[in-house]
Symmetry: C2
Subunit: 547 residues, 2 copies
């Protein structure tokens, strides 16, 4: 049997656009001789529609779209994903379903069994779990249809407190009793640079253990914070990955189950390249799917804004990016020079506004109220907020979306000004630790010096007071990032982090900074997620709490 | 049997403080002759700890605290709530459990069966559902212990698309087979002004249907956005509410199941008074539990900031509230006068800063870049953002937390400036529609004219350009609020809203405004929740989507 992978990029709620894409790929697969073409989880709606699933008209549109697509399945079968009403009197209103379409109609429906409800996943919020297992027949072949998590009944855990078997049943165990010839898994599995290998290994182990080939077809493209990386695979019954589709791009491939021939794998790439490509896709889809074209940001001469602007130019084109250089009296000469050089290297429009007179104006107006007080963080924040006003003015006047340049290390310890440099429609680096920001700089500069070397080599500084350096108030980033990763991604306790060789007082101070700044992150821009635990939707901490 | 209600206000993660309170109430109940004292759901940790539940040391502290409290239960039994590790190899790591403590130890544990995972509830994110039902015996009485949602297996639905039976099983049905003498329900059920009656009726119907008395004990106090209203009740086997504890306050009461005597109910109060009391409690606990004392905000002379400052003064005391009056060239004389009058009526400190020169400074600096463009929303936003800088400067310099004054109608349609008047640590009125803001004003002014009448009677205006009125760009609030309630609380479709008699174009425009402004609300301050559907954690909409 010839099975086509259609690895596509969907827009949430765009029934017209998504179904047009799906129907075009059904046509292509049929023309190229496929018997079956598979799409991804909730492909009709895009993954994940969140509480749009609570709207009746949304579900009705999804149902109508499934019927419309089914009508195109003549001489070829297809598997698509969509929500579906649970007609039983008990349970959640919906199922998360795979529709097996054939001969112009819905031949079979398989509901999702394992509903991930952790980290960024909220599926039990909307869906009732499946409890019945069936297989579907096509041209004499028996096919087991599964949906994403259905194959992930064993999960990796960040530390020994986690649990690797989150569910009471294993769909693959149930389905294997029905002796399918192969398994189709329609998926929507987001990219995490530190869980990639694990994800593939789970599939390999499942194929090997049950001796059943698996077609794993993933969504590609970004949905606000989440970046789906594609990388769909066909794994044979020995657990060999035989075919692999592209990463971070749409792709299409037909595999003949009788004669799948040579291995076709994607070239190996370094983690930092994947992060780079993920972020570029994240920016491009945020803009493209919102109908925006143009971005702005402030270039400080520092490394975070430098990386952000390079990624923006790669995602949107130089002609769609304009920047502001906003020196104050604390800015070093080389900062402005480095920023200007970078803008020229990239060929983007830039303007320079000195913020000093606006800052002076605020300080003068406040001086009667502030009489008798000493300068502190207040005055530093006024600078950051004045810059925020200029950037938002550009955004408002010309329709450029402001990109936020905060990195994950800063975001973690609250090293940023709310309503100042924390402004932005999208936080590009909010899930990238500072050490990885440096790695991105070296990756970007591999062939040419796009980012001025001085930007990379000088000590990081917010330049909000004379001779300020990040290392005055924070541990060196090399240490800080390791502590943060242990606390955030690994969920280790202070004691366990100290056991890695860090000083007790430093660990406690860092953790306290992370905990104290939940209120800032609560109001932060959406963050492009590249790790297994990003700030935002997947990490839900109470604001008012003692811990 | 004498059963004591201890209706208490807990702080999330404050094991020391919570257990001290619980132990004190065990002592009090024992002294007053009770056989059993009941607390609320997750009383040891506070409800809801969110992803703190994923931290091993958090769970260990909870376990240790349960043991510590059990040791105090000598000569009296108690029911407390805490998370507990699921020792089975499969399923979520934790249970949400009720611990029946007696004779210095844990006599019985009942895990929660129905785990709400909708709106603001995320329980299946952390907990495995119970599947076993037992009763516990004390002095010859058979007691069924349940946890909150366990009695709410029938839910109200906002519209006919909702589902009233979300769960496969009914714990009360299972437990009734064991013939308990009464049911204890430890609860953490937040206030919603439009679901109050329903909540009590579910309990009444359960008692009546199964002919079993119910002790329903609720948490009181605010946890960031959520306001728990207490109002614990004892319902007899005929479904009569015989005893009722206070609303929005801690309370304590002993009920003798053999001889419960006269009805003791709370005085009836109007919905607007409840909303008022909920918001005051919400502010007080946000500050008290965070360790803050002082608040600031901008007084515009308008009704939203007027209500917010009155509520703040009632929650924190006049000595802890200071305000800024920040006129621009578009401010009417009476606005400043009304604001000043209000500040004087309340006896709070106020300062006046004219924002015009700061605004002029920004416009001058931007004029080369803006050459050839016309004034638009950009210049209005600069005013709002300059005010934001002044307020945050007061906040930073003196440690006053900025209160946000945006009401729900504005928040819904995006009528507010991000990083300007949307600033704040807590949004006091973000779940209060404009018409209810007027009702609050009349309630506050019932006895004395605290809020200047002119503030209430003048047409609402943002005063960001000459002679601006809200009604220039929005439908009258009377209509707007009805459309918004239908769309947000009721989840009705545009068509269903039109059928209420609204113009198609107006409905579509309003809904489009709501949908378009998800990105602003994403970065908004936490909102005190008083309705069944507030913006924030309980309403999760995709940012990048077409709908």
């Amino acid at each position: 049997m010839k099975v086509a992978f259609a690895q596509l990029n969907y827009t949430i709620g765009d029934f017209e656009g998504n179904s047009t894409k799906i129907i075009a790929n059904i046509g292509k697969a049929k023309t190229e001789g496929a018997d079956l073409v598979i799409f991804s989880e909730l492909s009709v709606t895009g993954y994940y529609p969140h509480d749009l699933l609570e709207k009746k008209e949304f579900i009705q549109k999804a149902e109508n779209t499934v019927v419309k697509i089914a009508e195109k399945c003549v001489g070829i079968a297809a598997v698509i994903g969509a929500p579906r009403i649970n007609e039983n009197s008990r349970g959640k209103k919906l199922y998360n379903s795979a529709f097996f379409l054939n001969e112009g109609k819905i031949q079979h429906i398989q509901n999702k069994t394992l509903l991930p409800t952790y980290d960024i996943f909220d599926e039990y919020r909307h869906f009732e779990p499946n409890r019945e297992f069936n297989i579907v027949e096509l041209k004499g072949e028996k096919i087991a249809v599964t949906i994403c998590e259905d194959l992930w009944d064993e999960l990796p855990t960040a530390n020994e407190f986690g649990k690797d078997k989150l569910y009471q049943i294993s769909p693959m165990e149930e389905l294997s009793k029905l002796e399918p010839d192969f398994v189709v898994n329609i998926s929507a599995s987001p990219f995490s640079y530190n869980q990639e290998e694990w994800r593939k290994n789970v599939l390999i182990n499942k194929a090997k253990k049950f001796r059943i080939p698996i077609f794993y077809n993933n969504q590609v493209g970004a949905q606000t914070e989440l970046i789906f990386d594609g990388g769909s695979v066909f794994i044979d019954r020995n657990g060999e990955v035989v075919k692999e589709l592209k990463y971070f791009e749409e792709d299409f491939m037909i595999v003949d189950t009788e004669n799948f021939g040579e291995k076709q794998l994607q070239p190996k790439s370094e983690t930092i390249e994947k992060i780079h490509n993920a972020l570029v896709l994240g920016i491009r889809d945020y803009f493209g799917k919102m109908g925006f074209r143009k971005a702005t940001l402030g270039l400080s001469g520092g490394i975070d804004s430098a990386i952000t602007v390079v990624l923006a130019v790669r995602a949107l084109g130089a002609e769609n990016v304009r920047v502001l250089l906003m020196p104050s009296k604390y800015s070093s000469d080389h900062s402005v020079e480095d920023a200007r050089q970078l803008a020229e290297n990239l060929g983007i429009k830039y303007d320079i506004i000195n913020i000093q007179s606006a800052v002076d104006e605020f300080e003068t107006a406040l001086s009667p109220i502030f009489a008798g007080t000493s300068p502190d963080i207040t005055e530093e924040n006024i600078q950051a907020r004045a810059r925020g006003i200029y950037l938002m003015a550009i955004s408002n006047k010309f329709g450029h979306i402001l990109l936020n340049t905060t990195n994950k290390s800063e975001c973690a310890v609250g090293y940023g000004t709310l309503y100042g440099d924390m402004n932005g429609g999208l936080a590009v680096l909010g899930d990238v630790y500072k050490m990885d920001v440096f790695r991105l700089a070296h990756f970007i500069n591999l062939e040419n010096e796009i980012i001025p070397v001085n930007t990379i080599t000088k000590p990081p500084s917010a330049e909000l007071r004379p001779d300020q350096k990040d290392s005055d108030s924070l541990p060196e980033y090399h240490d800080l990032d390791r502590m943060l990763f242990s606390y955030i991604e690994m969920n280790l306790s202070p004691k366990e982090i100290m056991e890695q060789g860090f000083d007790e007082a430093v660990v406690n101070r860092v953790i306290r900074m992370v905990n104290m700044n939940e209120y800032k992150r609560f109001q932060a821009a959406p963050i492009l997620r590249i790790s297994s635990k990003a700030f935002g939707f997947g990490r839900r901490m109470p604001l008012v709490a003692k811990y």
